[in-house]
């Protein structure tokens, strides 16, 4: 256990002396993952709502695709995005590889199917009759959708948690498309990998602790949100 104690002491020292811009790294992580979660929800919730509530030809196939997307290997996503954005790739002119937008793109692709699939499952569990009931009281399609999402909010919180948890702790894809560049695309996970590779177990361990704490914090907040949503649940 000595190795952990030593490492942690080194890490805390490195943080407090400011030799490693830990808050810059944490902030970059939060910014990119936060933006990615926002876009995944923005696109994934309507998509999931559509999949979960409408009956149409090919729906089963799309749900299967979304569920497959939940298991989409992030490194494969990273590879495809990196190839697409590279100078020789189809979107090379955008000069986006090794930038934050590229990271957000990869993260959105990783999180989107998760958000869509979890949303679809959540709204699919809301009885069709709830929408019929709302409609019978004068609700428009939008009102119906809002009500359904409100009824499924526990599931939506799960969608946020699943999406955020997946991308904040993902390393393969963000390394490939972000490049771990100091001060711009270096996030917690890529920094942890780098410090480990450099033998700097201290900062790596300390940063892991920060990452763990952050995920814990987010889950606590979401659990609190879930609890307040749960207030009126049947027990």
């Amino acid at each position: 256990m000595q190795i952990f104690a030593d490492a942690l002491r080194d890490g805390i020292a490195a943080f407090s002396q400011g030799t490693i811009d830990v808050w810059g790294i944490v902030w970059t992580s939060l910014q990119t993952s936060g933006t990615a979660v926002f876009f995944s929800l923005f696109l994934g919730i309507p998509a999931g709502f559509f999949l979960g509530t409408r009956r149409f030809v090919g729906r089963r196939l799309l749900i299967t695709i979304a569920n497959t997307g939940m298991g989409l290997p992030p490194v494969a996503v990273g590879l495809i995005v990196a190839m697409t954005l590279s100078r020789r790739g189809p979107l090379g002119d955008l000069d986006l590889l090794y930038t934050r937008p590229a990271m957000v793109m990869a993260q959105v692709i990783i999180a989107l199917p998760i958000v869509a699939a979890v949303t679809a499952a959540a709204v699919g569990a809301v009885p069709r009759e709830v929408r019929l009931q709302a409609r019978s009281l004068g609700a428009s399609r939008i009102h119906e959708a809002i009500l359904t999402l409100a009824e499924a909010r526990l599931g939506l919180v799960a969608a946020v948690a699943a999406g955020f948890g997946q991308i904040i702790s993902e390393v393969g894809a963000v390394t490939m498309v972000g490049g771990n560049l100091e001060g711009s695309t270096r996030v917690m996970t890529t920094a942890i990998v780098q410090f480990t590779r450099m033998g700097k177990y201290g900062p790596a361990l300390a940063l892991s602790a920060v990452l763990l704490g952050l995920i814990f914090l987010v889950n606590v907040l979401l659990a609190a949100g879930q609890h307040s949503a749960d207030r009126f649940e049947r027990t």
């Binding site: 009931q133 709302a134 009281l137 004068g138 428009s140 207030r231 009126f232 027990t235």
Partner: protein
């Protein structure tokens, strides 16, 4: 608000190539409650969805006060409200649930809370606004669902078996409460049910549906009194209906010859008319065969033989046969013991002339 007239004409709807609804015409008269009776799967709920502009018909038109309306017509939808078999309360409080439709109509603040309070008061849940909607009992939830619809002061109220999932005692109490409330509000109401007792208490008019078609439609007393055909009679519990010819008519009492058995009925049907005759099993009393009967107004006394005995709750349904005529009686368990009823035992079936319903054959709605 003035009561509305809702008319459906030529409504057709099919699912996967199977015709589930084929209604030529159905009218909800202003301020009256129309009960739609029919067995499960007969298309009642689909018709309610179409009338309520919740679902589109393949063909046909729905008119509100003579104006054709569709599910896209939000103004028309805004003057309607519905409650269903399961209350489907939304997450939140009772108050939030009742206020849902008001919010959609832009009614908020004190105006909303006053109306919510009044609606809850009306369904006997005054002051329940802050309670969680999802911890209510079945009866409470159903009353909230009714309040949620009533609070909108709809011109058309649609209720789809709102009491079907409740236990019998509560159901009976709420049936009377609903009848009172609907009577008070004077709203045009469409009430789907498969329970004729409920229909008779709540409705002014009744329509009977089978396999997607309306097979009887009229005032409650007419439809229940004069079944349109043998199926309706059976559905309304008058099985089996007898067919016969009016042999004699005197002082408003007709003697109907049903295959050699005389049935006396209070009816103005002319002599020679071919008619259907039905008696509700509840109206038939059984006595020992050739018993010395006390004098009574019961004009019909038919010697018959028990051919079928079925247990049904606290009572027995006994089918008796006289010649080629069959009829059913509902008797108590005690009577079965006392009369030693079993297949082959002879009995005297007694019923009043006023209990006999007569319908001219092929003329739905009666005389």
């Amino acid at each position: 608000m003035d009561a509305a007239t809702l008319t459906a004409t030529g409504i057709r709807k099919s699912y996967r190539g199977r015709m589930v609804l084929d209604v030529d015409r159905l009218e909800l008269a202003p301020g009256r409650t129309l009960a739609l009776l029919g067995p499960s799967g007969s298309g009642k709920s689909t018709l309610l969805s179409i009338l309520g502009l919740l679902e589109r018909a393949d063909e046909g038109t729905v008119e509100l006060d003579g104006r054709a309306v569709t599910h896209r017509d939000r103004d028309a939808r805004m003057v309607m409200a519905a409650a269903f078999q399961r209350p489907y309360l939304f997450k939140g409080t009772v108050g939030e649930n009742v206020a849902y439709g008001l919010k959609l109509r832009g009614v908020g603040g004190t105006a909303a809370s006053t109306r919510v309070a009044a609606a809850l008061e009306r369904v006997g849940l005054g002051g329940w606004e802050a309670n969680s909607a999802l911890t209510l009992s079945g009866g409470e939830a159903q009353r909230v669902a009714l309040a949620r619809a009533l609070v909108l002061q709809p011109r058309v109220l649609l209720l789809d078996e709102p009491l079907a999932s409740l236990d019998p005692l509560l159901k009976w109490r709420l049936t009377r409460e609903f009848a009172r409330i609907l009577g008070e509000t004077g709203t045009t109401t469409f009430y789907v049910t498969h329970d004729q007792d409920e229909a008779q208490v709540i409705a002014d008019d009744v329509a009977v549906m089978n396999a997607g078609r309306i097979i009887a439609h009229g005032r409650v007393e007419d439809v229940f009194g004069l079944p349109a055909d043998e199926w309706t009679a059976a559905f309304l519990g008058m099985e089996p209906a007898l067919s016969g010819i009016v042999a004699e008519s005197e002082d408003g009492v007709a003697r109907v010859d049903c295959d050699g058995i005389d049935v006396y009925a209070v009816s103005g049907v002319p002599v020679g008319a071919e008619v259907l005759v039905a008696v509700r099993p509840e109206d038939v009393t059984l006595f020992e065969a050739r018993a010395l009967l006390p004098p009574s107004s019961a004009r019909n006394r038919i010697e018959a033989v028990v051919v079928e005995l079925t247990h049904s709750g606290a009572t027995y349904r006994v089918v008796v046969e006289a010649g080629r005529v069959r009829m059913a009686a509902r008797v108590s368990r005690q009577a079965v013991t006392d009369l030693r009823l079993e297949t082959g035992v002879g009995v005297t079936a007694v019923f009043k002339a006023t209990a006999v319903r007569v319908a001219a054959r092929g003329v739905p709605g009666g005389v």
